[in-house]
Symmetry: C2
Subunit: 131 residues, 2 copies
Protein backbone atom coordinates (compact mmCIF):
# COMPACT_ATOMS: atom_id res chain seq x y z
CA UNK A 1 0.00 0.00 0.00
CA UNK A 2 1.13 3.53 -0.76
CA UNK A 3 0.07 6.96 0.49
CA UNK A 4 1.01 10.08 -1.48
CA UNK A 5 1.22 13.57 0.02
CA UNK A 6 2.44 16.84 -1.42
CA UNK A 7 4.79 18.87 0.73
CA UNK A 8 3.98 22.57 1.08
CA UNK A 9 5.56 24.72 3.82
CA UNK A 10 2.24 26.19 5.02
CA UNK A 11 0.00 25.46 7.99
CA UNK A 12 -2.29 23.26 5.90
CA UNK A 13 0.66 21.59 4.16
CA UNK A 14 2.14 20.65 7.54
CA UNK A 15 -1.25 19.34 8.73
CA UNK A 16 -1.48 17.17 5.61
CA UNK A 17 2.02 15.75 6.10
CA UNK A 18 1.41 15.01 9.79
CA UNK A 19 -1.83 13.23 8.97
CA UNK A 20 -0.22 11.31 6.10
CA UNK A 21 2.43 10.03 8.51
CA UNK A 22 -0.30 8.90 10.96
CA UNK A 23 -2.21 7.14 8.18
CA UNK A 24 0.94 5.44 6.88
CA UNK A 25 1.62 4.10 10.37
CA UNK A 26 -1.99 2.99 10.88
CA UNK A 27 -2.10 1.18 7.53
CA UNK A 28 1.56 0.13 7.50
CA UNK A 29 1.82 1.79 4.11
CA UNK A 30 4.73 3.32 2.27
CA UNK A 31 4.67 7.13 2.31
CA UNK A 32 5.70 9.09 -0.80
CA UNK A 33 6.26 12.81 -0.16
CA UNK A 34 6.25 15.01 -3.27
CA UNK A 35 8.11 18.30 -3.28
CA UNK A 36 6.62 19.85 -6.38
CA UNK A 37 8.32 22.89 -7.80
CA UNK A 38 7.28 24.67 -10.95
CA UNK A 39 10.84 25.75 -11.60
CA UNK A 40 11.67 28.88 -13.58
CA UNK A 41 12.02 32.28 -12.03
CA UNK A 42 11.13 31.27 -8.47
CA UNK A 43 13.25 28.18 -8.31
CA UNK A 44 16.30 29.62 -6.58
CA UNK A 45 14.63 32.12 -4.30
CA UNK A 46 14.54 32.12 -0.51
CA UNK A 47 11.08 30.59 -0.23
CA UNK A 48 12.18 27.56 -2.19
CA UNK A 49 15.34 27.12 -0.12
CA UNK A 50 13.41 27.47 3.13
CA UNK A 51 10.92 24.86 1.93
CA UNK A 52 13.69 22.43 1.03
CA UNK A 53 15.40 22.93 4.38
CA UNK A 54 12.14 22.25 6.18
CA UNK A 55 11.49 19.16 4.08
CA UNK A 56 14.97 17.91 4.90
CA UNK A 57 14.32 18.43 8.62
CA UNK A 58 11.02 16.56 8.38
CA UNK A 59 12.64 13.71 6.46
CA UNK A 60 15.39 13.43 9.07
CA UNK A 61 12.79 13.34 11.84
CA UNK A 62 10.78 10.62 10.14
CA UNK A 63 13.66 8.37 9.15
CA UNK A 64 14.49 5.71 11.68
CA UNK A 65 10.90 5.50 12.90
CA UNK A 66 10.09 2.34 10.97
CA UNK A 67 8.24 4.24 8.27
CA UNK A 68 8.94 3.39 4.64
CA UNK A 69 9.49 6.88 3.27
CA UNK A 70 10.37 8.21 -0.16
CA UNK A 71 10.85 11.90 -0.97
CA UNK A 72 10.60 12.95 -4.60
CA UNK A 73 11.77 16.32 -5.82
CA UNK A 74 9.85 17.24 -8.96
CA UNK A 75 10.75 20.24 -11.08
CA UNK A 76 8.64 19.63 -14.14
CA UNK A 77 6.88 22.95 -14.46
CA UNK A 78 3.60 21.26 -13.60
CA UNK A 79 0.82 22.40 -11.33
CA UNK A 80 1.07 20.56 -7.99
CA UNK A 81 -2.18 18.72 -8.78
CA UNK A 82 -0.69 17.24 -11.96
CA UNK A 83 2.45 16.04 -10.15
CA UNK A 84 0.45 14.51 -7.31
CA UNK A 85 -1.91 12.66 -9.64
CA UNK A 86 0.93 11.45 -11.87
CA UNK A 87 2.79 10.03 -8.86
CA UNK A 88 -0.41 8.50 -7.43
CA UNK A 89 -0.96 6.76 -10.77
CA UNK A 90 2.69 5.71 -11.05
CA UNK A 91 2.86 4.24 -7.56
CA UNK A 92 -0.63 2.69 -7.69
CA UNK A 93 -1.41 4.71 -4.55
CA UNK A 94 -4.27 3.85 -2.21
CA UNK A 95 -4.64 7.31 -0.72
CA UNK A 96 -3.69 10.92 -1.41
CA UNK A 97 -3.61 13.35 1.53
CA UNK A 98 -4.15 17.06 0.90
CA UNK A 99 -4.38 20.11 3.15
CA UNK A 100 -7.24 22.62 2.94
CA UNK A 101 -7.30 26.12 4.34
CA UNK A 102 -9.84 26.78 7.05
CA UNK A 103 -12.63 29.01 5.84
CA UNK A 104 -13.00 32.33 7.63
CA UNK A 105 -16.52 33.11 8.92
CA UNK A 106 -17.03 35.40 5.94
CA UNK A 107 -14.99 33.19 3.58
CA UNK A 108 -16.25 32.47 0.13
CA UNK A 109 -17.61 29.00 -0.53
CA UNK A 110 -15.01 27.85 -2.98
CA UNK A 111 -12.23 25.31 -3.03
CA UNK A 112 -8.87 26.02 -4.63
CA UNK A 113 -8.40 24.75 -8.16
CA UNK A 114 -5.59 22.39 -7.17
CA UNK A 115 -7.74 20.79 -4.45
CA UNK A 116 -10.71 20.44 -6.83
CA UNK A 117 -8.58 18.93 -9.52
CA UNK A 118 -7.00 16.38 -7.16
CA UNK A 119 -10.42 15.43 -5.75
CA UNK A 120 -11.89 14.97 -9.21
CA UNK A 121 -8.96 13.33 -11.00
CA UNK A 122 -7.35 11.22 -8.28
CA UNK A 123 -7.21 7.52 -9.14
CA UNK A 124 -7.78 6.72 -5.45
CA UNK A 125 -9.45 8.10 -2.29
CA UNK A 126 -8.40 11.58 -1.14
CA UNK A 127 -8.15 12.58 2.51
CA UNK A 128 -8.63 16.33 2.98
CA UNK A 129 -7.23 17.74 6.23
CA UNK A 130 -7.72 21.23 7.63
CA UNK A 131 -4.68 23.40 8.40
Amino acid sequence: MTIVVGFVPTKEGRAALARAVEEARLRQSKLVVINSNRGGRDYDDDTSQTAEAELQRVTDELSGHGLELEVRQLVRGNEPAEDLIAVANGTDADLIVIGLRRRTPVGKLILGSNAQRILLDAPCAVLAVKG
Copy 2:
Protein backbone atom coordinates in the same frame (compact mmCIF):
# COMPACT_ATOMS: atom_id res chain seq x y z
CA MET B 1 -13.41 7.81 17.81
CA THR B 2 -16.31 8.33 15.46
CA ILE B 3 -16.70 8.20 11.68
CA VAL B 4 -19.70 9.84 10.02
CA VAL B 5 -21.03 8.88 6.57
CA GLY B 6 -24.15 9.95 4.71
CA PHE B 7 -26.16 7.18 3.10
CA VAL B 8 -27.21 7.77 -0.52
CA PRO B 9 -28.47 4.90 -2.71
CA THR B 10 -26.15 5.67 -5.63
CA LYS B 11 -22.90 4.13 -6.87
CA GLU B 12 -20.81 6.78 -5.10
CA GLY B 13 -22.97 6.60 -1.96
CA ARG B 14 -22.40 2.85 -1.74
CA ALA B 15 -18.65 3.32 -2.31
CA ALA B 16 -18.57 5.85 0.55
CA LEU B 17 -20.44 3.54 2.92
CA ALA B 18 -18.22 0.56 2.07
CA ARG B 19 -15.10 2.63 2.68
CA ALA B 20 -16.50 4.08 5.92
CA VAL B 21 -17.05 0.52 7.19
CA GLU B 22 -13.43 -0.38 6.29
CA GLU B 23 -12.11 2.72 8.04
CA ALA B 24 -14.24 2.08 11.14
CA ARG B 25 -12.82 -1.44 11.36
CA LEU B 26 -9.24 -0.25 10.79
CA ARG B 27 -9.51 2.46 13.46
CA GLN B 28 -11.89 0.57 15.76
CA SER B 29 -14.19 3.57 15.55
CA LYS B 30 -17.92 3.92 15.96
CA LEU B 31 -19.72 4.40 12.64
CA VAL B 32 -22.65 6.82 12.40
CA VAL B 33 -24.68 6.47 9.19
CA ILE B 34 -26.92 9.43 8.35
CA ASN B 35 -29.99 8.93 6.19
CA SER B 36 -30.73 12.53 5.37
CA ASN B 37 -34.12 13.30 3.85
CA ARG B 38 -35.34 16.75 3.00
CA GLY B 39 -38.94 15.69 3.66
CA GLY B 40 -41.86 17.37 1.93
CA ARG B 41 -43.28 16.28 -1.39
CA ASP B 42 -40.74 13.52 -2.09
CA TYR B 43 -40.82 11.95 1.35
CA ASP B 44 -43.25 9.12 0.64
CA ASP B 45 -42.29 8.31 -2.91
CA ASP B 46 -40.82 5.11 -4.23
CA THR B 47 -37.24 6.35 -4.32
CA SER B 48 -37.35 7.15 -0.64
CA GLN B 49 -38.83 3.75 0.24
CA THR B 50 -36.26 1.95 -1.88
CA ALA B 51 -33.49 3.89 -0.16
CA GLU B 52 -34.79 3.01 3.28
CA ALA B 53 -35.14 -0.67 2.35
CA GLU B 54 -31.56 -0.69 1.10
CA LEU B 55 -30.31 1.04 4.23
CA GLN B 56 -32.14 -1.54 6.35
CA ARG B 57 -30.48 -4.34 4.38
CA VAL B 58 -27.06 -2.76 4.84
CA THR B 59 -27.65 -2.26 8.56
CA ASP B 60 -28.70 -5.90 8.95
CA GLU B 61 -25.57 -7.02 7.10
CA LEU B 62 -23.30 -4.90 9.27
CA SER B 63 -24.81 -5.75 12.64
CA GLY B 64 -23.22 -8.69 14.36
CA HIS B 65 -19.83 -8.00 12.77
CA GLY B 66 -18.36 -6.32 15.84
CA LEU B 67 -18.86 -2.84 14.45
CA GLU B 68 -20.36 -0.17 16.68
CA LEU B 69 -23.01 1.18 14.35
CA GLU B 70 -25.65 3.87 14.70
CA VAL B 71 -28.14 4.79 11.97
CA ARG B 72 -29.83 8.18 12.20
CA GLN B 73 -32.86 9.09 10.13
CA LEU B 74 -32.97 12.84 9.69
CA VAL B 75 -35.95 14.60 8.17
CA ARG B 76 -35.15 18.19 8.95
CA GLY B 77 -35.54 19.78 5.56
CA ASN B 78 -31.79 20.43 5.47
CA GLU B 79 -29.32 19.98 2.68
CA PRO B 80 -27.34 16.74 3.21
CA ALA B 81 -24.18 18.80 3.86
CA GLU B 82 -25.83 20.61 6.78
CA ASP B 83 -27.02 17.37 8.38
CA LEU B 84 -23.63 15.70 7.96
CA ILE B 85 -21.75 18.63 9.47
CA ALA B 86 -24.21 19.01 12.34
CA VAL B 87 -23.85 15.33 13.24
CA ALA B 88 -20.04 15.47 12.87
CA ASN B 89 -20.02 18.39 15.31
CA GLY B 90 -22.46 16.72 17.68
CA THR B 91 -20.57 13.43 17.82
CA ASP B 92 -17.12 15.06 17.88
CA ALA B 93 -16.32 13.00 14.78
CA ASP B 94 -12.78 12.28 13.64
CA LEU B 95 -13.62 11.61 10.03
CA ILE B 96 -16.39 12.19 7.49
CA VAL B 97 -16.55 9.93 4.43
CA ILE B 98 -18.19 11.22 1.24
CA GLY B 99 -18.66 9.78 -2.24
CA LEU B 100 -17.73 11.67 -5.39
CA ARG B 101 -18.87 10.95 -8.91
CA ARG B 102 -16.19 9.94 -11.37
CA ARG B 103 -15.54 12.63 -13.92
CA THR B 104 -16.18 11.69 -17.54
CA PRO B 105 -13.32 12.44 -19.98
CA VAL B 106 -15.19 15.56 -21.11
CA GLY B 107 -16.59 16.29 -17.63
CA LYS B 108 -16.53 19.80 -16.31
CA LEU B 109 -13.99 20.60 -13.61
CA ILE B 110 -16.39 21.29 -10.79
CA LEU B 111 -17.35 19.62 -7.54
CA GLY B 112 -20.94 19.43 -6.37
CA SER B 113 -22.01 22.09 -3.88
CA ASN B 114 -22.69 19.54 -1.13
CA ALA B 115 -19.21 18.06 -1.49
CA GLN B 116 -17.58 21.52 -1.51
CA ARG B 117 -19.53 22.60 1.52
CA ILE B 118 -18.63 19.47 3.49
CA LEU B 119 -14.95 19.82 2.56
CA LEU B 120 -14.86 23.47 3.58
CA ASP B 121 -17.04 23.36 6.71
CA ALA B 122 -16.25 19.96 8.21
CA PRO B 123 -14.85 20.14 11.74
CA CYS B 124 -12.62 17.14 10.96
CA ALA B 125 -10.82 15.44 8.08
CA VAL B 126 -12.91 14.36 5.07
CA LEU B 127 -12.21 11.22 3.06
CA ALA B 128 -13.52 11.52 -0.51
CA VAL B 129 -14.09 8.22 -2.31
CA LYS B 130 -14.89 7.71 -5.98
CA GLY B 131 -18.06 5.85 -6.96
